[in-house]
């Protein structure tokens, strides 16, 4: 099982670099590991964000025994943009938690609470390939606004990206006023949507995906 979605890394100069967050199923004693390249770039707060995402996943849908997941931040192939030397901040939390929710639902559906069978279908069926998210973790496991939003969105809306991000989820309450002016609801073709929790992000994606599939099924 491999889950991919878009995230954005910010370099020391404040520029946003689009990157693929890849979560792969592994066999190993550690519940979660970083790929060697990501491990070298990871700062302490980045690792904390990963650990918070793991705990939130475990609390909400469970965690499979004897299974491990590898988290990797890869550069976008088509653009070959180098990743920043260090991965700062907790804004990758949103992407990691969405990826882990789906990875656990696909590899260990028995972990998902049995009283929520519909939610298992939602987690397994939603396509995250063209989804981007930039959100930190708040105290109760929800999403929290991030900084340098315009730079991050500028990175995610580069036209050469493939698959092109269709939507970028932001935390509810994210300030769209930036020093350069207010951000529109659609930023260079990238729809911006506010969500408060990972579950609400999945529900929103599910609704949109069903409408989209109704046209091609």
């Amino acid at each position: 099982v491999e889950v991919q979605l878009w995230c954005v890394a910010v370099d020391g100069g404040g520029g946003g670099t689009p990157a693929r967050l890849v979560i792969r199923e592994l066999q190993g004693p550690e519940p979660i590991v970083l790929s060697s390249d990501t491990e070298q770039r990871a700062t302490r707060d980045f690792k904390e964000a990963i650990e918070r995402a793991r705990k939130l996943t475990q609390n909400h849908i469970g965690w499979p025994e004897k299974k491990s997941f590898e988290v990797s931040i890869d550069c976008a192939d088509e653009m070959n943009l180098p990743l920043p030397k260090f991965l700062y901040g907790g804004s990758h939390f949103g992407a990691v938690v969405l990826g882990l929710f789906q990875a656990v639902a696909l590899t260990a559906p028995e972990c998902v609470p049995v009283h929520e069978p519909d939610f298992l279908r939602v987690l397994q069926s939603v396509c995250l390939e063209s989804v981007a998210i930039t959100a930190c973790c708040d105290e109760v496991g929800g999403f929290k606004p991030v900084g340098l939003l315009r730079q991050k969105l500028a990175g995610l809306s580069m036209p050469a990206l493939s698959p092109r991000p269709a939507v970028c989820f932001l935390a509810t309450g994210q300030n769209l006023e930036t020093p350069e002016g207010p951000l529109p609801k659609v930023f260079n073709g990238l729809a911006l949507r506010e969500v408060s929790t990972p579950l609400s992000a999945f529900r929103k994606l599910w609704l949109v995906q069903t409408k989209s599939l109704a046209r091609c099924l």
Binding site: D118, R121, V122, Q124, S125, V126, C127, L128, E129, S130, V131, P163, R164, A166, V167, V186, A191, R193, L205, W206, L207, V208, Q209, T210, K211, S212, L213, A214, R215, C216, L217
Partner: protein, 319 residues
Amino acid sequence: VKALSRRLAEFVNAGLFLLAASNAARLLLLGSTLCAWWFLSDYYFAPWPWWMDRFAFLVLTTAVLWFAIRLPALSRAPDFDPLCDSGRELELTPANWCAILDAIASQGGTLWAAYWHWYSARIRHLGLNHKPVCAGRLRTCWWFHPSAISQWMALACLPALWIFLVLAPLHTNVMEKIAAAADPHPQVIYYVGCSGQLRSPSLSGNRTSFVRKQVDEALDSGSSVYRRTGQCAFLPQGTMTVSSTPFPRVYRRLEANCRERCDLLPPNRGEDLLFLQVPVVAGLASFNWIQTTPEPSLGMSVSLLRQDGSTLDKVTIEP
């Protein structure tokens, strides 16, 4: 080709649903087919090719399928598409597809919901633990499963009905009467035009040559006699153009009779005839004639006929 096959599969699935799953939908489809067939057997919308009269009701049946099932999907397009172009490659288990189809069903009205629930039931018959199916194959993956036999048998009714209706066009005067009652204008022949080429001799030096001159004239009209009074009277052959009341657009024919003084040239260039019937389209009909006796009188009569052969109007053309 792929897009065409997708449309075909879409159409077949909609047809399977309408004929196999819902009594209301079955009534709607069969009723609309019969109405379209009856209506188009009597009435035409435009001067289209002849075969459209026979097959246009199939187009209407298809439109019913399209408007009932597919159009609502297009109108519910999301404001952003997370699947983009990869929607057809999305691969999920039948259980997940059923959940998606049921979710789609909950987004619309009765017929829409019935269609997607029926679709979901077809996928469920494959078995929820069946191997994953990609979106591109979902429409057809259940077609050859034993559970689809009853659906196919129901669908077979539609082509059978179509074949029967195509072979048996119904021609009645019902539409003629309805439309004529609604229209105050008299149903008559009100114009006859004559055209052809007149050869007149001209002298150039010691030689006589013939000059061709195009003649297009309206015949002088009386109560029921149209007279060739101008140069048209000297034409040895030509074309008569007859105009009659253009509404209602029911199927009518024009019958020309030469009474052995001329011949009528059929449109398909067959043998010359003394008696000819041509279709009237939007009130207009024309036919070619050739004079066969030295007498100036054509002695031609022209009748406007209904579908059942009864005469609406009759005029003669003299001389």
